[in-house]
């Protein structure tokens, strides 16, 4: 009996070690909790991507501190070929200017940008404001309040830039996410909000302008910010894949290839269609330049609006 127990224990041990060694998995870090807007895109991206790479992969949710904890985790893994991050715009291009972080825009090997959705300026459908001019005029007497999904997020930045560069008078009220902000908009606690098409479509909202240089397909009657006689303001919610620095060039190009293939796959296209995510592929070099450009532009906005000392 005793020997049987011993051998059982030994077998379990061997089994454990064996399975453990056989598995060589790619960790895909998502810097938000499971089920969030970024997470679901990442989770739809992951199966095709790992198939292209020929590895098994795991989505790891490392949430906290405006997505910087997960991003720092990727940057911290220098030279590790088994970790990539599925990153939102804010963690790469806004937070490094606001906080003292262990990473900066130069701490990554850029793989690709996956999706990008322009942001709209919107009001509740129940309000009688139909155009930006009306909005700006109505705000003169008593400043409006605009919501955001937190301080230093893209909705905050876009509105802050708009207020700084136009006649619109409005003050910021941050919420803990787009959902609570939408509730506040529905209850007329706030009057204006900047967010993406997904939000616009899901709730009873009216777009007044789009934060892009041209009008956007599907919203041909929504003017671009420039048409309103304002300086160009480009704000979009985008996501991309980054790897830590110090990985081999071969691995990097393997990632880039797999990413491109994934974005062209039927599975992902179908998902993007349903989730209203606009696929906007940028290769490694373009993506790197894009992040750098956005980082500088956002820093300028933060300086202009006094959010950054």
């Amino acid at each position: 009996m005793k020997t049987l127990r011993y051998s059982l224990a030994a077998l379990t041990l061997i089994g454990t070690v064996h399975t453990a060694v056989a598995a060589d998995t790619l960790d895909i870090v998502v810097p938000f909790a499971a089920g969030g807007a970024t997470d679901i895109v990442a989770r739809s991206f992951e199966p095709v991507f790992s198939q292209q790479m020929g590895v098994t992969s795991v989505v790891r949710n490392v949430a906290g501190a405006s997505a910087t904890v997960g991003t720092a985790e990727v940057a911290d893994n220098e030279g590790n070929p088994n970790i990539i991050g599925y990153e939102p715009a804010g963690a790469l291009t806004i937070q490094p200017s606001l906080k003292n972080l262990p990473y900066g825009p130069d701490s990554f090997t850029y793989i690709c940008r996956t999706v990008s959705n322009p942001m709209f300026l919107m009001v509740s459908k129940s309000s009688d404001i139909e155009s930006f001019q009306q909005l700006a005029d109505a705000s003169q007497e008593y400043p409006f309040l605009y919501g955001s999904s937190g301080p230093g997020t893209l909705p905050h930045l876009a509105m802050a830039a708009l207020v700084a560069n136009s006649d619109l008078k409005a003050e910021h009220v941050p919420y803990s996410g787009s959902g609570p902000a939408m509730n506040a908009l529905a209850g007329d606690e706030i009057q204006v909000m900047a967010d993406t098409e997904t939000i616009l479509e899901n709730y009873d909202l009216r777009p007044l302008a789009v934060f892009a240089d041209q009008r956007v397909e599907g919203y041909e009657d929504v003017p671009a910010i420039q048409e309103l006689g304002l300086p160009s303001m480009e704000f979009a919610v985008w996501q991309g894949v980054v790897a830590p620095q110090g990985i081999s060039e071969e691995r990097a190009s393997q990632y880039a290839e797999a990413c491109k293939e994934t974005l062209e796959s039927d599975h992902f296209l179908e998902f993007a269609e349903r989730a209203k995510a606009d696929i906007a592929y940028l290769g490694p070099d373009d993506f790197k330049a894009f992040v750098q450009q956005r980082f500088e532009a956002n820093q300028q906005v933060l300086r202009d609006t006094g959010l950054m000392q």
Partner: protein
């Protein structure tokens, strides 16, 4: 007076007062908008801690006799394992921690001790890390251990 000061309950109240006071300094030095509520909360903290310390002083609760207890050992082990997890992964620190916990709770025969350690630390780690794919901190870059 000097003997009554080493009463644990009083010391605890004083320690909490000290922490509250220390944090208050940080709160009053910080930006006034972000620190508005912390200042109020910490003022209540300090006030209440003073009141508790006074009550404990007046009440004169019994002092405890010092005796050998394995508790600090377990506490230190838990803390050490928690600190080690970031650097050497989940599995390695949890094996000795589980073994120690079992030992302290009087599971001391070698076979049950070994088996239970493997099963509780190794088994749960394997279940979550590899089967359910809830990634726990890992030692190797490949995430295997």
């Amino acid at each position: 007076m000097s003997t009554s000061l080493i009463r644990p309950r009083l010391l605890l109240a004083l320690a909490l007062l000290g922490v509250g006071a220390g944090l208050s300094v940080a709160a009053w030095n910080g930006p006034s908008d972000a620190m508005l509520v912390p200042r109020v909360v910490l003022s209540i903290w300090c006030l209440v801690a003073v009141l508790i310390a006074v009550t404990e002083l007046v009440k004169g609760a019994p002092t405890v006799a010092l005796s050998f207890s394995p508790l600090p050992l377990l506490m230190m082990a838990v803390l050490a394992a928690a600190l080690a997890m970031k650097h050497i992964g989940f599995l390695l620190p949890s094996l000795p921690l589980v073994a120690l916990t079992l030992w302290l709770f009087r599971v001391r025969r070698p076979l049950p001790l070994m088996l239970a350690t493997t099963l509780i630390a190794g088994g749960l780690w394997f279940l979550f890390h590899h089967v359910l794919l809830i990634r726990l901190p890992s030692l190797l870059t490949s995430g295997v251990v």
